[in-house]
C-alpha cells in the first residue's frame, strides 16, 4: 500500500514554478518576492527538481491550496492568500494542416536542440512570428551558421512586432520578414519539410529544414488573475537571467512584478498592519510598462529613398541625441541610434565613462542620450548591446574615407585586409570595402572598416566577401560534442552521441515524433513516452548510452487537429462555440475536451483561447486552474 504523508502549512504569497519551467526562480519571481517580502508579507518560492508543484485548488473567495510533492514523495498542502503560477513562454500558431509534427517546434525546443545538438538546419528555417524573441533567435541561427537563411513569417499582425533595432540586426544578417499565413506543413524527408504559405500574392511553397514557433500570436496580456479578485495569478516569464539575453522579457517581467506586488500587498494587506508599497517604485514601474507597451502600437521605421535614408530619416538621425554631432579626425566616438524608446539601458550601464545618460520625455523621445564629449571610444557599448546597435565613427566627413567600427561575431572571423560588403539598415548592399584592423577582441570582436565618407550615416552592417570555405567532412563544420555510440531505435541500429537526451538524439537522426516537440526535460508534458530496454521512460529525461534499445510506445501522427491528445479539430471547437454560445472560457471548457488531454493544454490551450475569442467568448485574463497541472503518477 502506498504511504502518503501530507504536511500542512500556510503562507501569504506562494510563487510557484509551473510545468516545463527550466530556470527557477525566474527574474520576475525574484523581483516579485522581493517587493512582497519588503512589504512584510511571508513569501515562498516553490519549484525546482526537489519540489514539484502539482497544482492549486482555488478557495472560495480568494487564495488557494497549493499541493506540492517533494523528492521524498511527501505532499505539502500549503494554504496561500495569493498564488502566482510562473510559466515559460510557449507559443503555437492557430492550427493549420500538418502543424502538429516534428517539423514544427516551439522556441524553447529549438534553443534546447541548439545547445545540446550538433545541428544543421540548411537551407532555410522559417520562424513563425516577428516579435523580438523571434528575430533574436533568427539572428542567432544565422550568426552561428546553423542555417544560411531565416525567414520570419508574420501571420497575425499588420507589421513586424519586433523593435527596430532587432529588425535591423536581423535584416543586416540576411534574415527576411514576410507576411502571410502558414497553410500546410508536409514531411518530405527526415530532415526537410515543405511549408505552404498563403500570402497576398497567392500560395508560396518553401522547402524548409525546420519551422520554429515563437510568436507572438496575440497581444501580450501580461499576468492573468482568474477569477477576478482571487489573487490566483498566472504569469508568463522569460527564463533569461540577464537583460542582455532577453531585453524585452526581462524589462517587462521586472516592472510587471512591481505592479503585481502592489496589487497583492494592497489586497492581502488590508487585514495586516503596516504593509506599505513603495509608491515611487510602483509609479516608475508603471511608467516603464507604458513605455514598453506603447511602442507596440507605433513601431518605428526608417524611411528610404531607394537604398538611402530619405530626408525625413536623415533629419531625425541628425537631431537624435544618440548620434555625435562633432566628428573629428583621429577621434573615435560612438553613435547609438536607438531611436525607439525601449528602455533597455544596457549600453548606459556598460559605459565606463558615463557618456551614455538616457533621458526620455513622456512621449518617449530621447531628450538626452550620448554625451559625446565624455565618450572615449572604448567600444564597450558595442560589445554590450544585445542587438548590436551602436557603431563607432573615426574621422571627419570632409575626408574621402572614414572609419566605422562594427561588431562581427560570425565564423570564420574577419582578418585584416578582408573584403566586406557594406549594408544599409535593411541589409541591402551599398558598396564593397575592406577590413582595416581589429579594434577589440572578445566574445563580440570589433572591426575597423574603411567606409566612403558619404556612407557614414548609411552603412550600418557588414557582410564578409571572403570565398566560402569548402568542407570535406562534416566534422570540419561542427564540433562534435560527445563520442558516438551504437543504439537501436525501433529496431534500426543508429550511431548517436553518447550522453545527450534521447529526445535530442531523435531530432538529430530525423526520427523525432510529433509527441517529442516539447522536450520538457522533466516529463511534465507526458507525451514523449518511450521504452528503453523494456522499461517505460520519457525521452526527454533519458540519456543515450551504448547498446540501449529504444522503442516507441506511443506514436502520434502528424496532424492538423487543434487538440492532438483528444483529437479535436478546430471546426469541432467552433461548432461548440456556435451551438452553446458560451460567454466564458470556463463554460466552453465544460462542453469540450480541448486542453484536457495528456498535455494538459500545453499544445492547445492558447490556440483554443484565440479561436474562442473570435467567437465572442470572454477570454481576457483567463487562467486554467484545473488540478493537477500535469498527470500525477502514484506507484
Amino acid at each position: 500500500m502506498m504511504e502518503v504523508k501530507v504536511r500542512d502549512s500556510t503562507i501569504d504569497v506562494a510563487i510557484l514554478a509551473g510545468p516545463r519551467l527550466k530556470q527557477w526562480p525566474t527574474q520576475g519571481a525574484r523581483v516579485l518576492s522581493r517587493h512582497c517580502a519588503d512589504a512584510g508579507l511571508r513569501v515562498g518560492w516553490y519549484g525546482g527538481p526537489g519540489m514539484r508543484v502539482r497544482g492549486v485548488l482555488p478557495l472560495e473567495g480568494s487564495g488557494g491550496v497549493v499541493m506540492i510533492e517533494d523528492a521524498q514523495k511527501r505532499i505539502h498542502r500549503i494554504q496561500a492568500k495569493a498564488a502566482i503560477k510562473i510559466i515559460p513562454h510557449l507559443e503555437f500558431p492557430t492550427p493549420f494542416q500538418g502543424w502538429y509534427s516534428a517539423g514544427l517546434i516551439p522556441e524553447s525546443t529549438a534553443r534546447k536542440l541548439l545547445s545540446q545538438g550538433s545541428l544543421s538546419w540548411q537551407p532555410v528555417v522559417v520562424i513563425l512570428g516577428s516579435g523580438n524573441r523571434a528575430l533574436k533567435l533568427g539572428s542567432e541561427l544565422i550568426q552561428k551558421k546553423v542555417t544560411n537563411r531565416v525567414v520570419c513569417l508574420e501571420s497575425v499582425f499588420d507589421s513586424a512586432q519586433a523593435w527596430e533595432v532587432e529588425r535591423r540586426r536581423f535584416e543586416i544578417l540576411g534574415g527576411k520578414i514576410i507576411f502571410g499565413k502558414p497553410a500546410r506543413l508536409t514531411k518530405k524527408t527526415p530532415f526537410s519539410w515543405e511549408l505552404k504559405v498563403q500570402d497576398s500574392q497567392g500560395m508560396r511553397v518553401m522547402d524548409v529544414a525546420r519551422v520554429i514557433s515563437v510568436g507572438p500570436f496575440d497581444v501580450d496580456s501580461g499576468f492573468r488573475e482568474y477569477p477576478s479578485g482571487s489573487f490566483l495569478v498566472e504569469w508568463e516569464n522569460t527564463e533569461a537571467q540577464s537583460v542582455a539575453a532577453d531585453v524585452e522579457g526581462v524589462l517587462l517581467d521586472e516592472n510587471r512584478a512591481a505592479v503585481l506586488a502592489a496589487r497583492i500587498i494592497k489586497g492581502i494587506g488590508t487585514a495586516s498592519i503596516g504593509l506599505k508599497t513603495d509608491s515611487k517604485a510602483l509609479w516608475a514601474a508603471k511608467q516603464k510598462l507604458i513605455e514598453l507597451e506603447s511602442t507596440r502600437d507605433r513601431r518605428f521605421k526608417w524611411t528610404y529613398d531607394g537604398k538611402w535614408l530619405d530626408g525625413e530619416s536623415k533629419k531625425l538621425l541628425g537631431e537624435f541625441s544618440g548620434t555625435p554631432k562633432k566628428l573629428e579626425a583621429s577621434r573615435i566616438v560612438a553613435s547609438i541610434e536607438c531611436v525607439e524608446s525601449i528602455g533597455c539601458r544596457v549600453c548606459e550601464k556598460a559605459c565606463p565613462s558615463n557618456a551614455i545618460r538616457i533621458e526620455r520625455d513622456s512621449k518617449g523621445t530621447a531628450t538626452k542620450f550620448l554625451v559625446e564629449d565624455d565618450c572615449t571610444g572604448c567600444g564597450f557599448c558595442l560589445q554590450a548591446c544585445p542587438s548590436q546597435v551602436p557603431v563607432m565613427i573615426e574621422g571627419e566627413p570632409s575626408e574621402s574615407f572614414t572609419t566605422l567600427i562594427f561588431p562581427y561575431v560570425e565564423t570564420p572571423p574577419l582578418k585584416k585586409g578582408d573584403r566586406v560588403g557594406l549594408l544599409n539598415r535593411k541589409g541591402e548592399v551599398l558598396t564593397n570595402s575592406r577590413v582595416l584592423d581589429q579594434f577589440l577582441d572578445g566574445e563580440t570582436p570589433l572591426w575597423k572598416i574603411e567606409v566612403p565618407s558619404h556612407l557614414i550615416w548609411e552603412a550600418r552592417g557588414i557582410v564578409s566577401l571572403a570565398p566560402k570555405q569548402e568542407f570535406e567532412n562534416a566534422e570540419d563544420i561542427y564540433e562534435e560534442k560527445g563520442a558516438r555510440v551504437e543504439v537501436q531505435i525501433q529496431g534500426d541500429v543508429r550511431r548517436v552521441r553518447e550522453g545527450q537526451s534521447i529526445s535530442v538524439a531523435l531530432f538529430e537522426n530525423g526520427m523525432a515524433r510529433p509527441n517529442d516537440i516539447l522536450v520538457c526535460e522533466d516529463g511534465s508534458c507526458g507525451l514523449c513516452q518511450i521504452e528503453v530496454d523494456g522499461v517505460r521512460r520519457f525521452a526527454c529525461e533519458s540519456t543515450i548510452h551504448q547498446g540501449m534499445a529504444i522503442r516507441f510506445t506511443r506514436d502520434h501522427e502528424q496532424s492538423s487537429e487543434l487538440c492532438p491528445c483528444n483529437r479535436i479539430s478546430v471546426s469541432e471547437l467552433e461548432s461548440k462555440c456556435e451551438l452553446t454560445n458560451p460567454d466564458t472560457l470556463e463554460a466552453l471548457a465544460q462542453v469540450t475536451d480541448v486542453a484536457k488531454g495528456k498535455c494538459h493544454g500545453l499544445l492547445c490551450q492558447k490556440s483554443c483561447t484565440r479561436i474562442a475569442k473570435e467567437w465572442g467568448v470572454q477570454v481576457d485574463r483567463y487562467a486554467d486552474w484545473g488540478f493537477p497541472w500535469v498527470d500525477w503518477v502514484f506507484k
Binding site: M1, M2, V6, M67, Q590, K596, D631, W632, F634
Partner: protein, 394 residues
C-alpha cells in the same frame, strides 16, 4: 428599461432552465437571471445518485425506485427537447443494431456493487442494506472474496494472493441509471436560449432591489434594468446561491431563517479522474467505504469500456486532498483493482447539500411573491423531478 414577465427565475445551474421550459410550455412568460458569468460554472449536477446514506433505515424503496433507469428517463425526458438514448450491457452483443442518436445524452444501466472488508466496521451496515434490498425484492447477489472484487470496474488479476481480497464481502445490487450531464444540460440551455431569446436569459445578473414595481437588476456592464414580475420570483437553491438567499430571507422573512439553516447539511466530495491503461468495464458502479468508483465517459460505452475511472470520495471537512484521501484512493487502486500505478488526470472538490427538507420556502418580497426552490443540486434526475413538483405546485 422595463420588461414584463410572469415568472422571474434566478439560479446558476440546470434547475432554472428546467423551470423555464416547464413554465413556457404552460404559456407563461419567463425570464432567467444567472448571477454567474455563465451557466453550469458551479457544476452542481451529478450523473447519478451517490447513495450516501446517513442510515440504512432510510426509505430505500423510494430511493432505489427513483434511480431505476426507466425512472431516470421519465424524470428527464419531459423538459428535454431531443432524444435521450439508453444503453445496457446486453446491447454489446446484440446483432440487430437500431438507429441511435449518438450525440444525444445517454442513460446507462449499471449495477451497484457494495464492497467492505469483512473485519471492518462497515460490514453490519452492508449486511443490513443487503437484507433490506432482499426484502424489497431487488434480488441482490451476495459475493465474497475474488468473485466480488472481480466485478470492480478496472479490476486486474495481477498478484491476487498478496492483495487480501478474500477478506472482502459485499453484494451486487440492482441496475440504476446514470446520465450524460454535460450533454443534457447543454442541450437544454441551447433550446431554452433560443426559445426565450437572449434578452430574457441573462448571465452576470445581480438583483439590486425588489418591490411591487418589479425586480431591478444589473448586468456586469450597463445600466440597471427592471423586470416587472406578474406572478412570482423563483430562486433555485444550490450551494453557490446560499449566501444571497440567506441575505434575502434575513431581509424579507427573518422567521424563516431557522428553517433555511436546518434545511441542508453540507457534503464535501473529492472527484478524482484517473487514467487506466486498459479499458474499464462500464457495467458497474462500485461503493467502497466513502468512495464511489465507475468507468467514466460520454455517450454509449465502446466494447470493453472506457479508459477513465471516476472516484468520488466523501470528505468529512472542507479540507481537500489530505492523507485520508490519498490513502483511500490508493486502497481502491492498489488493493481492490490490483494496479501497479495510477495516474491522476484531474481532481476537483465538489460541494453538495444533503437536503433535510425539500418543500419551497415562500415569502413576500415587498409585494412580490417569492419562492426558494430547494434541492436544486445533486443527481440530475432528482433536480428535474424536484423542479417539476415545485413548478406544478406554484
Amino acid at each position: 428599461m422595463k420588461k414584463t414577465v410572469d415568472y422571474l427565475l434566478v439560479g446558476t445551474g440546470v434547475a432554472p432552465l428546467l423551470a423555464a421550459q416547464r413554465l413556457s410550455n404552460r404559456g407563461e412568460k419567463v425570464a432567467v437571471l444567472n448571477p454567474d458569468p455563465d451557466f453550469f460554472l458551479e457544476n452542481s449536477e451529478l450523473p447519478l445518485d451517490l447513495l450516501s446514506f446517513e442510515s440504512t433505515n432510510a426509505d430505500l424503496s423510494k430511493r432505489f425506485s427513483n434511480n431505476l433507469p426507466e425512472q431516470v428517463y421519465r424524470d428527464l425526458i419531459p423538459e428535454f427537447p431531443g432524444a435521450i438514448e439508453m444503453w445496457k450491457e446486453e446491447d454489446e452483443s446484440r446483432e440487430d443494431k437500431h438507429y441511435r442518436v449518438e450525440s444525444a445524452p445517454w442513460i446507462r444501466f449499471r449495477h451497484r456493487l457494495w464492497v467492505v472488508p469483512e473485519r471492518g466496521t462497515g460490514v453490519d451496515r452492508i449486511e443490513n442494506l443487503y437484507l433490506r434490498a432482499l426484502d424489497l425484492g431487488w434480488k441482490p447477489k451476495w459475493l465474497e472474496g475474488v468473485s466480488l472484487a472481480k466485478r470492480f470496474p478496472g479490476f486486474s488479476s495481477r498478484n491476487l494472493e498478496a492483495r487480501g481480497l478474500e477478506g472482502y464481502v459485499g453484494f451486487l445490487g440492482p441496475r440504476f441509471g446514470d446520465i450524460d450531464v454535460a450533454r443534457y444540460r447543454t442541450g437544454l440551455l441551447e433550446f431554452v436560449r433560443e426559445r426565450l431569446g437572449r434578452e430574457n436569459i441573462l448571465t452576470s445578473a445581480h438583483i439590486l432591489d425588489i418591490d411591487r414595481k418589479g425586480a431591478r437588476f444589473q448586468l456586469a456592464s450597463g445600466l440597471p434594468e427592471t423586470f416587472e414580475v406578474g406572478r412570482a420570483i423563483l430562486y433555485f437553491w444550490t450551494p453557490k446561491m446560499e449566501r444571497s438567499l440567506r441575505q434575502n430571507i434575513e431581509k424579507y422573512q427573518p422567521r424563516a431563517i431557522g428553517e433555511f439553516t436546518a434545511a441542508v447539511k453540507k457534503q464535501h466530495w473529492e472527484e478524482w479522474d484517473l487514467l487506466s491503461r486498459d479499458p474499464v468495464n462500464p457495467y458497474v458502479v462500485a461503493h467502497m467505504e466513502s468512495m464511489r468508483v465507475w468507468a467514466h465517459g460520454e455517450g454509449m460505452p465502446p466494447v470493453g469500456g472506457w479508459s477513465r475511472i471516476k472516484v468520488m470520495r466523501r470528505e468529512a471537512s472542507a479540507a481537500m486532498l489530505g492523507e485520508g484521501g490519498f490513502q483511500d484512493v490508493s486502497k481502491v487502486i492498489f488493493q481492490a483493482l490490483g494496479w501497479e500505478r495510477f495516474t491522476v488526470r484531474g481532481m476537483s472538490p465538489r460541494l453538495f447539500y444533503r437536503w433535510n427538507t425539500t418543500h419551497p420556502i415562500e415569502y413576500d418580497s415587498d409585494g412580490v411573491r417569492t419562492l426558494v426552490i430547494s434541492a436544486c443540486d445533486g443527481p440530475l434526475h432528482w433536480i428535474a423531478e424536484q423542479v417539476r413538483h415545485a413548478i406544478d405546485g406554484v
